[in-house]
Symmetry: D2
Subunit: 159 residues, 4 copies
């Protein structure tokens, strides 16, 4: 398993129906390509991405914020129980070699930030865009669809 | 000391000269108003803010990422040594009742995100602006100058 | 405030009456000697130690595990809100230059362990004793009473 | 994979030759029994346990303290990069349903403590023993050999 690529899928726990479909497709595509899916282990985008990956025989890791493995969505095969709350967002992205962000709220934005801070590539599908002091920041790589997002993520995996 | 307000000042460790001046003025103003300054304890905006606060007799807290209190800037009076790396960004904002962001890079953006996720007000001076899925997000409250930033922060302190 | 010594007082949240008295006396003694008290911010030993320190005009810091400053005991003047659960035990001891352990259960034992791992001296009052592979480990320095504990802690402060 | 049992193997990074043999045998035995091995991902007991598990086709997870997956020992198949330093000790034990401690120093003792605090069973091989306030604490279940340790761990898995 040790030559496999690890890709995080991040996004909100209350996705729109379209975001949920994107996440499931990203999960399926990652599994077909042999990548291991890392996520925050809970519901919404995290769950549909895991569901997609599992449907194609992929491996899914959920890095949970709370104290119990019971909180993991049913498609997480490897629950990591951190007990450190939102600080686990750092571990979600650092455990991946590339990150795919789908929609999402401020928790997702914190994960995008931590990834960019660590030099881990972030591919975005319908997610945040950033500008700093009036200037557009183009660090989030935009993808038009799940297949493109997965292609870019796998081509950009670092470390 | 227990009725005092706690305000975090966040921003990069390589500020522009203008950002450094803004930070120092924010620090001075917080101290004059009796607020306690919380920051990440290192250099740049964190240091000049602490310097400003100390010059007016204010109390300064630095929540450090590393393993040693020696890393604190010389104006931190109360160093908290977390040893948890960038995950300490969560503690910086959660320990405050309002946050003032000055410039900053992705680490600052992660702190802004964690604050907004926790419902802690964020006041911005020359910092990030956000849009989500093409729509402007106005959660960061813009201030024109340090005095306005401090006024707004103290008026909005929560919890 | 920056030349002051930081000493952590650790112990259980359900101390015996004797342990509570020891903690209060340790807090008073630390304050009289000008040291700043660091603790986990909650009840039991943490609270009575803070109460003792406050009664002598000392400064008290509570490094909290949860998401809210409201959880701090009423004698904590500087609440640090980490949101990282029991992992905050590491920050409690790392933020101190010496540790005084009074009674306590497994949480206290984890703090003793993290302190010893980091080379921070631990002084014990009615607390854990350790042996490894059948051999007594004497790293916890035994004190007979609060005054001796505080003397030893202040003499041994590191970093 | 989701019905599998997760067992942490903890111990020092400088084990005696005997401890290293015990760790490797524990790893092999866990893999034979279909359990997933969780550890801190570094050298010593962590590495020889992973080596043993991998030799029998088992799955190995390493929950790393630092910022890089490169620090994982070569037998870790699933590196989790936390970036939170020693606070990751909490995640190592919370991610397991039982813990086997082999030898070890203060880091191992902190993991034993965090496990007992969370009600996760700890089985010991040549490791720490504890007494509190003069009374022996028998919470660490003693095993005579690796097979007994693994049997007890698998019988006691919780949550």
């Amino acid at each position: 398993m040790d030559k496999k690529k690890f890709v995080a899928v991040i996004g909100g726990n209350q996705p729109s129906p379209q975001e949920a479909r994107l996440a499931e497709e990203v999960g399926r595509e990652l599994a077909k390509r042999g990548a291991i899916l890392v996520c925050g282990g809970l519901g919404g985008v995290m769950e549909t991405a895991c569901k997609g990956a599992q449907s194609e025989g992929g491996v899914t890791i959920g890095i949970l914020p709370g104290e119990s493995r019971q909180a993991a969505n049913p498609y997480v095969q490897i629950p990591i129980v951190t007990g450190i709350g939102y600080a686990r967002n750092v571990a979600v992205v650092k455990s991946a070699q590339a990150v795919i962000a789908i929609g999402g709220s401020y928790g997702t934005l914190s994960e995008i930030s931590h990834a960019l801070q660590s030099g881990i590539p972030v591919i975005g599908l319908n997610t945040w865009s950033l500008s700093r002091n009036g200037q557009q920041d183009n660090s989030i790589i935009l993808a038009q669809n799940p297949t493109e997002a997965v292609n870019r993520a796998l081509n950009l995996t670092t470390n």
